[in-house]
Symmetry: C2
Subunit: 160 residues, 2 copies
């Protein structure tokens, strides 16, 4: 099964694709969709829409995982992220791809085994789990890969 | 020129269409796109996406106006509205239709002449300006018509 993780953002939306082979997780790809702050909101969202459609057409994921939004974090930056996340949910629904949503605590617990882990611990574990030479960059892509890993783990827990 | 106003919401997105004939404003249509709270977020946003595309294909507006979001109002309800608003901006960009964004104060000032007007005053003025028999219903559609009226006024101010 092929899983895509998404870390939504208006300026930069990360994506990370992994594959489950038996009970192993294999790395496939990662990257970011960047939009220009000089463009109007609608054009930036349309850019995310088009590029995310391309990523899905190219990698044909079966399911996806995305980080849930929290207002408590940063109210000022929550609005553009929510706009981008709306587009992400739309694209997945349009393709009929189920999209799981996970809180940062659930993602950290799935990747590191500890809900209060630091960002760099999570990224190191992503590297180890996916058998990569180095921590994936940029942060948005690494976060997207952790959302994908979390989705795999939570799916398999659900099957126990 | 044909103008569409939008009042975005996840459960109910209002739209109102007007036309400028010389320096008069003529009513064309209004309505709401409703989605079921029992459906997943992605499906609801896809529903808004599809229906809004249909409304635009049917009425072929030249430009649009939408109310700006404020967190101060109600933080809990801001997130789903922001998701829906992201989809609205996307659809307009996809059709190449310019979409103006106006704060509630600017909209009230444009419709009633007073930024602190009450909701029912705004709705009464929408009825008067558009020469309707009664206040348009539901509220989301009336609010969408005020956003459209505001866009017309602010465009003409910009041309002075």
């Amino acid at each position: 099964m092929r899983i895509i993780g998404i870390d939504p953002g208006l300026a930069s939306t990360g994506f990370g694709i992994i594959e489950t082979v038996g009970n192993k997780i294999k790395y496939v790809a990662h990257g970011v969709i960047k939009t220009s702050p000089e463009k109007p909101l609608g054009e930036r969202l349309f850019h995310i829409y088009q590029d995310l459609n391309q990523v899905i057409d190219m990698y044909k994921p079966d399911e996806g995982g995305v980080e849930a939004l929290f207002f408590a974090k940063n109210i000022t930056s929550a609005l553009p992220v929510a706009h981008a996340k709306g587009v992400v949910h739309l694209v997945f629904a349009q393709h009929g791809i189920p999209l799981g949503e996970y809180t940062p605590i659930v993602i950290k617990r799935a990747v590191v085994g500890e809900g209060r882990a630091e960002k760099n611990q999570v990224q190191e574990m992503v590297k180890v789990i996916l058998n990569l030479d180095k921590v994936p960059r940029p942060d948005h892509a690494a976060d997207a890969l952790s959302a994908a890993i979390c989705h795999v783990n939570n799916r398999s827990f659900a099957n126990v």
